[in-house]
């Protein structure tokens, strides 16, 4: 008969109580794993999203720079426009490697999302757009036949969603125009997957925004020139320069307050779980006062009793930890779905990434929690005096 088995059997005897306590630990661990997984996944997804935009600098119309950047990333209404002349003016700058103007327009499409309606995002681009994103490939079809053709190229996801293929006609409800699909991009894992692209001039005409654009994406030859380049552009009236590094930082900052809240919730969940475990074990110790006295009479040392109770606590936390990890893995997609609904900006790709390392750390954390929570009940049990314990309740 080993001490470990004794601890295990004691837990099994009080099935409901053990199950409830283990459940509490499991939920706390699941919350923690999901939050930490989200933390890692979100940063990675956002980094991927921004890096894959292909440009380091975004020039937009004056306004809130981060709102503009977020709009560029995600789409949505309230876009500001600038004159295309700005593009013509700075395109000659020698420090520029690639530059492309974009016109983003959004239209409410009542047919979208299975009839529930949603925002469809259109982007007017020039062929320079492809040079900024050399990794983008066509799944089928090809580039527009001309800069003012009534043609469209669809992102992978939107084409999938609307079941379109090359040659199909699409109707844009807000502007009552029909376009022919000439190409469909491969999946890029970015917001581009949900966008319908039009030739820039076509888009300007269709949305009645002649000579206007929403932004200019720029990639420099030397990343070291970034600061000076930004500095020079500050003098241009009516525009602002946003570096993508800044955008990244700002979105991370925006997220940090949400993260703080989430982490507080996780901390509270863990505290409640610890107190729950302590309470369960303490109750079990008090209930078993006589038995603990008997164990001592049978030769158990203080340390033996301490170990038995400690093991019970640790077992609860270990089992709870394992179940919590399984719950987090199984519920990851649900958490992701909810997060995508409530977040101000959700990058594409997986938001909750649960790595083996995260699982290992969480499990170890659960066990350490058990070790800490067990200290008090175990020392209470160990310090019971055999005679008083055996005769208690008489």
């Amino acid at each position: 008969m080993r001490l470990f088995l004794l601890a295990l059997k004691t837990l099994r005897r009080k099935k409901i109580r053990s199950a409830l306590t283990i459940g509490g630990v499991a939920i706390a661990v699941a919350v923690l794993v999901s939050l930490l997984g989200f933390d890692a996944g979100y940063q990675e997804a956002l980094r991927n999203d921004i890096d894959r935009m292909g440009y380091q600098v975004l020039v937009t119309a004056k306004g809130c720079p981060y709102e503009a950047a977020t709009l560029m990333l995600k789409g949505g209404g309230g876009l500001r426009y600038m004159e295309q002349e700005v593009y013509d003016k700075i395109t000659a700058d020698e420090r520029i490697d690639q530059i492309t103007p974009q016109l983003v327009a959004t239209v409410f499409d009542s047919q979208r999302d299975g009839g529930r309606g949603g925002i469809a995002m259109y982007m007017g681009i020039m062929d320079s757009y492809m040079k900024l994103k050399p990794w983008v490939e066509f799944q089928s079809g090809d580039w527009f036949s001309g800069e003012d053709a009534d043609e469209a190229i669809m992102g992978y996801e939107v084409a999938e969603l609307e079941q379109r293929s090359v040659g199909d006609k699409i109707f844009i409800s807000g502007i009552d125009k029909v376009f022919t699909v000439v190409g469909i991009f491969e999946r890029t894992g970015t917001q581009d997957d949900g966008v319908i692209f039009l030739p820039l001039e076509t888009a300007q005409a269709a949305f009645e925004l002649a000579g206007r654009i929403t932004g200019i994406g720029i990639k420099l030859k030397q990343i070291g020139d970034l600061a000076a380049f930004e500095e020079d552009l500050y003098d241009e009236p009516g525009i602002q320069v946003v570096s993508m590094a800044q955008v990244k930082g700002t979105i991370f900052n925006l997220m940090s307050s949400a993260k703080l809240l989430a982490n507080s919730i996780a901390t509270v969940a863990i505290l409640i779980a610890i107190i729950g475990v302590m309470n369960t074990i303490l109750m079990s110790v008090f209930e078993r006062t006589k038995q603990i006295g008997v164990m001592k009479a049978l030769g158990a040392s203080k340390m033996d009793v301490f170990k038995i109770i400690w093991m019970e606590t640790t077992l609860i936390c270990l089992i709870g930890g394992v179940i919590g990890c399984v719950l987090a893995l199984a519920g990851g997609s649900l958490v992701e779905h909810v997060l995508k609904q409530i977040l101000p900006y959700a990058p594409s790709g997986r938001l909750v990434v649960i790595s083996p390392l995260l699982l290992a750390v969480s499990l170890i954390g659960a066990v350490v929690t058990g070790l800490v929570a067990g200290l008090y009940p175990a020392s209470r049990a160990a310090s019971m005096r055999p005679v008083q314990a055996i005769r208690s309740g008489e």
Partner: protein
């Protein structure tokens, strides 16, 4: 002349309560030799249990002298008493006090674990057979009758090969037939194995079957 196993001189135990002091054992002088079978008899509250606790090194004494296995334990603190009793003194209680989550044989194995002896299922089974419960080794206490439980408790008390067995009202919760059966087990253990046994009991009839009867009243030996 047999060797002395336990010797007390003026052994006293005082419990201090908020309102009063209770002298549970009052100046007891007693000698127990190896192989003795002693019954401690007396009315409720006469100090039988407390005396048994002291002799079994479960509790520390207030004053006087107590020598167990030739070792003066009068000054030994409670934490160190465990080393004196472990593997040498077995206990049987009125309420059996088996661990309910363990089977009969697992209960018997407990003292072996605590005494850090190698795991020995054969020995545990042998002890259960000795008390006539070889066939019920894998039953939980709740599946056993009162008499059977007490026999498991006796087997358990013997697991770590003690030379002294202390039993506190072992038949107090049993009917006459089971009480007689338990007593016979004690007599066999004493007669065949030479185990020293001290039993505190109310039962005049059974108690008087012991080699020696010690009467206690108000914590004092009266005869």
């Amino acid at each position: 002349m047999q060797k002395t196993m336990i010797e007390t001189e003026g052994l006293t135990k005082v419990f201090t309560l908020p309102a009063e002091e209770i002298v549970a054992v009052d100046g007891v002088d007693l000698k127990i030799a190896e192989g003795d079978f002693v019954s401690l008899m007396g009315p409720s509250g006469s100090g039988k249990t407390t005396l048994l606790d002291l002799l079994g090194c479960l509790d520390s004494i207030s004053s006087g002298r107590l020598t167990v296995f030739g070792q003066d334990v009068s000054q030994v603190g409670e934490d160190d008493l465990v080393a004196v009793r472990r593997g040498r003194i077995g206990f049987v209680f009125q309420e059996f006090l088996l661990l309910p989550e363990l089977t009969a044989i697992e209960n018997v194995e407990l003292p072996i674990t605590f005494a850090r002896m190698p795991r020995d299922r054969g020995r545990a089974l042998g002890l259960l057979e000795k008390v006539g419960l070889g066939g019920r080794a894998n039953h939980l206490p709740k599946e056993l009758s009162g008499g059977e439980r007490q026999r498991v408790a006796i087997a358990r008390s013997l697991a770590a090969s003690p030379s002294l067995l202390l039993a506190d009202e072992p038949t107090g919760n049993l009917d006459t037939a089971n009480s007689r059966e338990i007593w016979s087990v004690f007599e066999r253990l004493n007669g065949q194995d030479g185990l020293t046994i001290i039993v505190a009991t109310h039962d005049e009839k059974l108690g008087s079957r012991a080699d020696r009867v010690v009467h206690l009243v108000d914590g004092r030996i009266t005869g």
